[in-house]
């Protein structure tokens, strides 16, 4: 599964800087788990972060900060071993990427003909708009324009949009410069993971059906 479409430089940089909102961060992390190319891009921006940290003009600490920290070293336990991963999350027998292991994955709910949606809730960011979307072969995905940032990672099947074909592992990014009306491939249903930031204006029949479920 080698991806052909990747997050933009800005999105990779924001991920490395830790400034992406929780929802998009989860979708980018899902892309990274299968994309060594982008892990390398993130590492490059982390190195840039190390460089910025080295070069920044220091801000004086309050008096005694070092002593207070030194006093806490002994009570500071060694780092705990990584806890074993919980059972992989799944929905209807479809195994989800391990980045979703901590999330609550809601049931599929029909939001239109051939379109099902499941809400993904992140424990530490319950308000983040993250969804799984399952659309039948040859259907059109809900049409919408964006207002801030929307990121999508294809998990299964494929869709085409504006002349590009997106397959499992691919990452699609849109902002308010883009308008989407993707069509699902003929080989079978398509499942994707999406995070939406900011207000989204849905258009068309499916879009009007979808709007109440997204809650934006």
């Amino acid at each position: 599964m080698t991806a052909n479409y990747h997050p933009s430089d800005l999105t990779i940089m924001r991920f490395a800087a830790g400034t992406l909102p929780a929802g998009p961060m989860l979708v980018v992390a899902t892309h990274l788990s299968g994309c060594p190319f982008c892990r390398r891009r993130v590492a490059t921006f982390e190195a840039a972060g190390g460089e910025i940290l080295t070069e920044i003009r220091p801000a004086a600490l309050s008096d005694g900060a070092l002593e207070r920290t030194l006093n806490r070293l002994d009570s500071s336990e060694p780092a705990p071993l990584a806890s074993p991963s919980p059972q992989p999350a799944s929905i209807d027998g479809f195994i989800l990427p391990r980045t979703l292991n901590d999330c609550k994955v809601g049931p599929w709910r029909t939001v239109g003909p051939g379109v099902k949606l499941s809400r993904v809730t992140m424990p530490h960011a319950p308000a983040a708009n993250v969804i799984l979307l399952k659309v039948k072969a040859n259907r059109r995905m809900p049409a919408h324009g964006h207002s801030d940032l929307e990121v999508t990672q294809v998990l299964k099947g494929s869709f085409s949009d504006a002349g590009n074909r997106y397959q499992p592992g691919d990452f699609v990014e849109g902002d308010d410069d883009t308008d989407h009306s993707p069509v699902i491939g003929s080989e079978g249903e398509c499942i994707s993971l999406a995070a939406i930031e900011g207000h989204v204006r849905f258009r068309g029949f499916f879009g009007r059906l979808l709007q109440p479920f997204i809650g934006l």
Binding site: G18, M25, T44, A47, E51, I52, L73
Partner: protein, 192 residues
């Protein structure tokens, strides 16, 4: 009492050595020297990212405690000390933001699940970046491009915040960020 300019004199290799001394023999003097150099920079970094002075200092101190606890995971073949410490401070900032947004208790290191400071085995295989090259590329940018990349690094909403800060139209900021990042990518590829 060391002055700030003394602290700035620490070389990157010296910082690596301090961290290794902590990792291999829990060297408290090395920790104190590393703290002097790094903690005020983490504080400054957090303030640039919008944290209050108090919160920035708390994150700096907590980050240094994590540096002490996790030092054994530091692998100089994978990343320089400052890059490794940057990643710890960044994850901590994400944790603090999540704690402040949700009333639920979140364990320390929760954000590690998304991007671990301890790499998973497949990441160790693939990710190794020549930091010298990254530094050279950043320095080769025009000052305008370097500024916009630094600003985008610190801002939660880079487009709108930078547009306001520099009093520029949103479209101009978007294309400037895009061009600066494309230039950075070109510079990194040139020296491959």
């Amino acid at each position: 009492m060391k002055t700030l300019s003394d602290r700035e004199a620490l070389s990157r290799e010296a910082v690596n050595q301090l961290l290794l001394a902590i990792a291999t023999r829990q060297d408290r003097q090395a920790f104190a020297a590393l703290f002097d150099f790094v903690a005020p920079r983490i504080k400054a970094f957090m303030m640039r990212s919008g944290s209050s002075s108090e919160l920035a200092e708390e994150i700096a101190q907590e980050a240094m405690l994590l540096v002490w606890r996790k030092a054994a995971y530091f692998d100089p073949a994978r990343a320089g000390a400052m890059t490794w410490i940057f990643a710890i401070a960044r994850n901590l900032r994400i944790d603090f933001q999540r704690k402040s947004k949700s009333s639920k208790h979140v364990d320390e290191g929760e954000a590690d699940g998304l991007q671990a400071t301890e790499p998973t085995p497949e990441e160790i295989l693939f990710v190794r970046v020549d930091e010298e090259r990254v530094r050279a590329a950043l320095q080769a940018l025009s000052s305008e491009q370097e500024e916009i990349i630094r600003l985008s690094f610190f801002r939660d909403r880079p487009h709108s915040e930078i547009a306001r800060e520099l009093d520029l139209p949103l479209g101009t900021v978007k294309s400037r960020i895009r061009r600066a990042l494309a230039r950075l990518r070109d510079l990194l590829e040139e020296t491959l």
